[in-house]
């Protein structure tokens, strides 16, 4: 397979620019966006492409993120392929429209360059934004690198527009950590992406005046429930489609994508579950510990919505202790969202692996391999003492 793999051009790109490059190659009908740090470079770079005539896109510089997603929704209803991007507070302002986009089954693609919520004021990375909107009916993919940010955007178009799915897709990349860091990215030839992305054939379009339909009719006690039910159905069908498209993408590029990604996990005794850019530091920590004879492993979630429960359990069952690392400040639950998902998946399948939950890296705080080694040490302690308390822990906090 790798013999046939297509060699793209290596470019030095920041994550934001890698996303903009993917958007240029997809050449969407409509992009409506509002610039906000650290997503700004996506909008800035893409509007340059528009100004230079490199895309045919109708670019709408709107007055807010609520308007950005609203414009994409309108465009998508008219049968257009519509893309946007935002982060943190911008995503929060889109909140109402997030649900409308998914309920109307519109295959909108949105890159979210993860940013913490204020207050205190912060522009750096937490996953508060995307994780906060995890139940809005969007598919969510998380990138570990700039390459994955580029690749996810290309795959998202096919996933979203797949006739079995028709759901919006959120492609997440850690703000600054990926968004503003320069790395080599293999950019596919334009014509390859053109063929990959194909054209979007909407099942209904506002512009199809020969077949007029009514959108957005009121729906109370009579039909609302029945109209929501298919959204679960679409989510249930998504894992297979995401896997198929990840496989097909691999055949084109040599880079195969799955729902989850394991690193030295098969024979591991202790494991860390993580998503996003911190996966790299976890890999380094795993290698260090393996050199010292400690059987450490990693499970990276590429896809968080739909939650790949089966794959997660399959990958982690039999481990002696597992730590789930999360970059969110959410309050009131016993643990953070990924932990709750993993714990539920384990419970429902009768798996009783010991689990602990760390919140880390809030507001852009760096997390280095040495700290992850400390997490693995905690897991080893658990395997020896059997004691998991406290379940919820803070990594990298000045705890005094």
């Amino acid at each position: 397979m790798s013999g046939n793999r297509l060699k793209g051009e290596l470019k030095a790109l920041e994550g934001d620019n890698a996303v903009a490059e993917a958007m240029r190659q997809i050449n969407p009908d409509v992009v409506a966006a509002y610039p906000i740090t650290p997503q700004t470079e996506i909008v800035m770079t893409f509007s340059e492409f528009v100004a230079n005539g490199l895309v045919d896109t109708e670019f709408l510089a709107v007055e807010s993120e609520h308007a950005a997603l609203s414009a994409c929704i309108g465009a998508a209803l008219a049968g257009a392929r519509a893309l946007t991007a935002t982060c943190g507070p911008g995503l929060a302002l889109m909140w109402e429209m997030l649900w409308i986009a998914s309920s109307w089954r519109l295959p909108i693609i949105m890159n979210v360059v993860n940013r913490a919520f204020s207050s205190p004021l912060n522009i750096l990375c937490s996953h508060d934004d995307a994780m906060g909107s995890r139940d809005a009916g969007w598919i969510q993919l998380y990138a570990e690198s700039q390459q994955e940010a580029y690749d996810n955007t290309l795959q998202a178009v096919r996933i979203a527009e797949h006739p079995d799915i028709l759901l919006p897709v959120m492609c997440c990349l850690d703000g600054f950590v990926l968004g503003h860091t320069l790395e080599p990215v293999e950019v596919l030839p334009d014509e390859v992406v053109k063929e990959w992305a194909g054209t979007y054939n909407p099942c209904y379009s506002l512009l199809d005046i020969d077949h007029p339909v009514t959108y957005g009719a009121a729906d109370f006690t009579d039909y609302y429930f029945e109209h929501k039910r298919p959204q679960w159905e679409a989510m249930e069908r998504a894992p297979k489609v995401i896997l198929d498209i990840g496989e097909e993408f691999g055949k084109v590029t040599g880079r195969y994508y799955h729902l989850v990604d394991s690193y030295r996990l098969d024979d591991a005794d202790v494991a860390v579950v993580v998503l996003g850019a911190t996966s790299g530091a976890v890999r380094v920590a795993v290698d260090r510990l393996r050199k010292n004879g400690i059987k450490a492993g990693m499970l990276k979630l590429r896809c968080f919505r739909p939650f790949p429960a089966q794959q997660v359990v399959q990958a982690l069952q039999g481990k002696k202790a597992v730590a789930i690392l999360e970059r969110v400040a959410f309050f009131g639950a016993e643990a953070s969202p990924v932990f709750l998902e993993v714990a539920t998946a384990f419970y429902l399948r009768g798996v009783s692996t010991k689990l602990i939950n760390y919140t880390y890296g809030l507001g852009g705080r760096d997390t280095v391999p040495g700290q992850i080694c400390g997490v693995f040490q905690d897991l080893i302690d658990i395997t020896q003492t059997g004691k998991t308390e406290p379940i919820f822990r803070y990594l990298g906090l000045r705890d005094f």
């Binding site: 309920s103 209904y204 007029p212 339909v213 006690t221 009579d222």
Partner: protein, 109 residues
């Protein structure tokens, strides 16, 4: 409320419904008799009506019945009793009457 909103539409299960909550049959509002919402009924004094068509033009539901360019009455299956026709009529020959009054007079409830 829901019974009235439901109008004449059959109750379909979720598998039978089009995507997005769309209504894909054009013109199906004919099946939806909004006249049941009405609390005030427009009564047109046809003897004084100049047939200017203002009421026909302004009626949001197309409920003014016109035959051979002459206003002949109101289609009560759809008229919601909004009263726009009465306001717009330049000769003020349309009166809005309480449905309860009409019922009392005609003894039809």
């Amino acid at each position: 409320m829901s019974d009235r909103l439901r109008g004449k539409m059959p109750e379909k299960g979720w598998k039978e419904l089009p995507i997005r909550g769309l209504i894909i049959e054009p013109g199906n509002s004919v099946n939806y008799e909004t006249g049941s919402w009405r609390a005030l009924r427009p009564i047109i004094n046809l003897e004084k009506c100049p047939h200017c068509m203002f009421c026909w033009l302004f009626c949001p539901d197309g409920s003014i019945i016109v035959k051979n360019s002459q206003v002949t009455g109101v289609d009560l299956r759809y008229c919601k009793g909004c009263g726009i026709c009465a306001v717009e009529c330049p000769r003020q020959v349309i009166t809005m009457v309480e449905e309860a009054e009409v019922a009392k007079e005609t003894n039809v409830w």
